[in-house]
């Protein structure tokens, strides 16, 4: 199990970690647009019920000193929010009435 990205307590969502543990918004945005609604719905359904617990897990550590597995868990939470717009709001990967517009996030805090 040494190659697991997430803390052992979150082993049930480990199948999504390789795809969705992404450090930056441009990566998460690209993954959303490259994913099907079925894939994102499955990730959302598996992880959303555990999200509150995952946030509490991350908050056992200072934000600037997260162990690697907690940092991955926080990345997965970021991806859950990214996916939530497709699942909860638009019911499609793209923004409704987004036309051909592109907005790039060029600066963001880490982690």
């Amino acid at each position: 199990m040494s190659d697991a990205l997430l803390p052992p307590e979150f082993a049930d969502v480990e199948p999504w970690a390789a795809t969705w543990c992404l450090a930056t918004e441009p990566e998460r945005w690209a993954m959303r647009l490259a994913s099907t609604m079925d894939e994102m719905q499955a990730f959302y359904d598996a992880f959303f019920p555990r999200a509150e617990e995952a946030i509490a897990w991350c908050d056992r550590f200072p934000l600037d000193a997260l162990p690697a597995d907690a940092e991955h868990l926080l990345q997965l939470l970021h991806s859950l929010l990214m996916v939530s717009y497709a699942v909860e709001v638009w019911h499609q990967p793209e923004v409704v009435h987004g036309g051909s517009a592109v907005i790039d996030r060029i600066v963001e805090p880490r982690p």
Binding site: P62, L63, L81, E88, G98, I103, D104
Partner: protein, 423 residues
């Protein structure tokens, strides 16, 4: 039926009698000739915001700022004495672009004792003085004291770094900003150092996008989803009304009475809003910032957002939940512009706060894409030139004032140029 009191004249628009109430032409947004004039008349005369002091954290910090539509690139520095300065980003030797990273089209930032030209190794202090000429002995009668960078007028208000490209600015920065914007001096912008920056290249005139963000009339029809997941919330017939409008010189502001989502029942919220306690009006759990000078100037009950439109191209949005957003719009041609959006928060201290900020930043982009996505359609429609003039409602008073002001500045420029020509 009005939900908020309007001025004694009955409407906001008639409260400012110079505005008129007739239809408005948008030829200023489709004409290449007007754009050529506007660059000189507006952008080479007004004070322009190019960044925040936080981008110059230490003495020796610098950043470059490209304004391609104005054919200008600047380098902004905090010199060894802590003074903020701006220069044209051009080497005095053979005119090479001085500071860049990656390609000359890209901006750069950093901290340095001196700025070094990549071409022939000429070097400049952060105060713009030429410090070193490579093989100086090869040159003829050279005087390094006269070969510094070309300075640009630069001043700082409330942490906002402004430049003025005029030879001699017509106003000091404080005179220019006037009492309404000036009242924000002392607002704790400097506590909100956590920044999310966005950039978009849009196919519209710069003013057309400003128009989208200086009225909220479009919000219920275009951003229906923003109101909530339920049919009751997503009512496109919902009538938006701002609580207060104010005009001060070329600058404008609108105050909204808030959608305080933290007070909404859970069934009207998206699950991710409830999870993160955040959304389009920001994180629900506001940091305590103490006194907030300059905001909510009319004392609106349930104040939501103050939207200051600083002429010509800066917007400062201050939210009741104690975060702020800036928008800047840089023309690149008569029908294209670069949009910059920056979200500023008091730095998160834990993952829960980080995720609240992240969800607000996501929300900004999701709905911003709807605004951007609609935009090129507006430009295309205007360029069809089917109609000469367009009706504007009272909730669009700032659109009316903005185009009128740009027109007046261009008129003044042409008048002065005409008078100069006669001499």
């Amino acid at each position: 039926m009005a939900r908020f009191p309007r001025p004694p004249e009955g409407t906001w628009t008639e409260h400012y009698p110079g505005l008129g109430t007739g239809p408005v032409a948008f030829e200023d947004s489709v004409s290449p000739a007007f754009y050529e004039l506007e660059r000189e008349a507006v952008f080479k005369r007004a004070w322009l915001n190019v960044g925040r002091l936080e981008q110059l954290p230490r003495n020796g910090s610098y950043f470059s700022k490209n304004l391609p539509g104005l054919r200008v690139s600047l380098v902004v520095t905090r010199d060894r004495d802590g003074r903020v300065r701006a220069f044209h980003n051009v080497c005095r030797h053979r005119g090479n672009k001085l500071v860049w990273e990656g390609t000359p089209r890209d901006e750069a930032r950093g901290n340095a004792r001196q700025l070094v030209c990549k071409y022939h190794d000429w070097r400049y202090g952060l105060d713009g003085a030429c410090r070193y000429v490579h093989q100086e002995g090869e040159f003829f009668d050279i005087d390094k004291g006269k070969l510094g960078l070309a300075p640009v007028h630069c001043d700082v208000f409330a942490g906002f770094v402004f430049v003025n490209l005029d030879r001699e600015p017509r106003w000091t920065l404080r005179e220019y900003l006037g009492p309404m914007v000036g009242a924000l001096d002392g607002y704790p912008f400097d506590r909100m150092t956590e920044r999310y920056s966005f950039r978009a290249e849009n196919d519209s005139n710069w003013k057309i996008f400003i128009d989208a963000f200086q009225e909220y009339y479009h919000v219920p029809p275009l951003h229906t989803h923003q109101l909530g997941p339920t049919p009751e919330a997503q009512n496109p017939e919902y009538e938006f009304e701002a609580a207060h409008y104010q005009i001060d010189g070329p600058h404008r502001m609108v105050t909204t009475s808030g959608t305080h989502k933290h007070r909404w029942p859970a069934e009207h919220l998206y699950p991710a809003e409830a999870l993160t306690r955040s959304g389009s009006t920001g994180p629900w759990d506001a940091p305590d910032l103490g006194e907030l000078p300059g905001v909510n100037p009319s004392g609106v009950e349930r104040w939501g957002i103050d939207n200051f439109q600083v002429f010509p191209n800066l917007e400062i949005l201050i939210y009741e939940r104690n975060w702020f957003v800036t928008y800047r719009y840089w023309p690149t041609s008569h029908n294209t512009h670069v949009f910059e959006g920056d979200l500023h928060f008091v730095p998160a201290t834990c993952a829960r706060e980080r995720l609240a900020h992240e969800y607000a930043a996501l929300t900004f982009k999701e709905y911003g894409l709807q605004d951007c996505g609609t935009l090129d359609g507006t430009q295309m429609g205007l360029e069809q030139r089917v109609f000469d003039e367009f009706p504007l409602g009272d909730q669009e008073i700032l659109v009316r004032q903005f185009h009128k002001t740009v027109g007046e500045w261009v008129d003044a420029y042409e008048r002065e140029r005409g008078e100069g020509g006669k001499r």
